[in-house]
Amino acid sequence: MKPLLSALLALAIVACGRGKAIFNVDAYSFMSGTGRETIPYAIPPGGGSASTVQKINLPPGFGKSIVDSVRITTGNANLFNTGGTGSIGFALFFAADSASTYTTSAALNVSSTAVSGVQGPVPVVITGDLSSTVNSLFTQQTLWIRIAAVGTNGGVTNVTGQGVLTALVIRVVVEDRIF
């Protein structure tokens, strides 16, 4: 029954008085074991991207809250390149539904990592503040995240391989509005 769970969470927020509510959302845990933590890529000459989409459930009852900031505090991935020479970066998109993650602007872009031939694992760190345009999404009970591997390819053959996410924790700081 959502009302009671909402009440308990709201109780916790009220109990903190004027403090903030902080959510550490382990987005990786929603992907782990489903295959969605892996992004196979085949970047053609000139560049391209590949992505994975995941739904994330959040506690109910914060629809009127105001999000102060959203930041990825812990994010790690490994690149396993199997061929070609180029670079692979990551972009994160957030939306209220799956389809909209393909039409919205990236909330975070992670700088590219050069890859060449058979190589890996190449560690990539994914951290940074998300664009404030996605703040309101984190007050809803569900949101969708799309992680895209964005590649450049200056060669004549595809850059192939896969990016494997190993950790992704999103820290959401909420200033609650209980009325």
Binding site: M1, L9, A12, C16, G17, V25, S29, F179
Partner: protein, 454 residues
Amino acid sequence: MRTGVVALTLAVLVLAPARAAHAQFSFDARRIGMGGVSLSRDGNVRRYNPAYRAVKNRSNISGAPKFSIPVPLGLIQFLKDHPLNQLSHDPTFNPESSAFNPVELMNLVFNPPIFYEVKKAPAPTNDVEFTIGRNQLVMNLGGARVLIPEDKFGLGTTSRLLDMGVGFAGFHVGVMGFLQYDVGFTLDSMLRRALTDTVVGFQPSTNYNILGDGVAQVGFAPTLSFATRVMRGTGGSDNSDDGVYVGVAGHYYMGGTYGRATGPGGFTTGNPIFGNTPLGILDDTLYTSNKAFGHGVGGDAGIAWITGPFEVGLGANDIGAELTWSDTKVQRIRYNPATDSISTTLISNHVQSKTKLPITYIANAAMRMGTGTTVGGDVVNSGRGTAIHVGVEQRTGPFAIRGGIARDQRKRVQFGWGGGLRLGPLGLDVGFWTHSNSLSPQRAITMATSISVY
């Protein structure tokens, strides 16, 4: 839904600490300065001990004023801090303000700003942190964790709304109105642990419940009471109060209506926790009276012994008060997760049920020494927990100093101290009182001021 959630949340916060401010609050700075004990023969002793109907309340003996007028320094300060013409922009009352603190607002409700808060209990302002994963929900309430109740919490009291009648030769015939309610909640061990454990948190496929039990009944009772002095003290003058007093009262309770609800409300977490929607749990039984006039009898009894400077009393109310309701409806209220709806099923109708009024009591003692010193104490149970007050007053000429200690209904020790100055028929009294009426683990200190008229 959010409004309901907020309402429930605030209600829980209001109920949670089992506060009984009314039992600790007095407009008399003298009483506050003595830890809550009343050395006069009115107030609680007359309410709970029918023997005191036969005892004269002599202010010249007890040193008590005829009445006290509170000086609301707290109200003056409050209006200065929160001008009425700016309330709409006041962060205290404006949830849209970044400085709005709901705990401070609730503390204001618990502690009406009649008297001046010398030391406010600090409202928790720490951050609350949630760790959320597909199969993980951990809440770290920080310092606010101490607000999670360990035992049954709620509120309740037995009140006599009116008590009127006529008396002659020790007898008193009248009618009293009564109101009794008791609403209690208990977090089950799993829920309490989930709210306080910062490592494990909530578990998948686990029931988390709040067990509720509430009853409310109201009615009136024709009453016949008798109080008299059964034994005069030896050596005292005819004008002396010395002696043994007894009082009894019989009530024929006529309940107007009552309702009772009991059962759990909660949810079962999914497996994984955020993989499935939690399933609701609600399986309560509701009793309501179809017709008025639940009947029952009960009584009050009391005894008081006064010898010279010493007096002691013991009184109890609503002894054996059990009401029989001849026409009751019993319903079962359940939540059906499959249809996401609440259903009500009639279990039985037009059946008999019974309710009880809790026994309330007071034991009091006071000793007035010839040196201007008066000590006293009382043990009061007004229907939900026992409060103990012990206090002393030392009068020297026009001056008085006072002190006291108490154990409140939440079993917390509180302290009172103060003083007074009497000039003829008027006196000015100041009393300080620690209290735990705020949503805070720390005590606050209130300064009460009042003018006494002798």
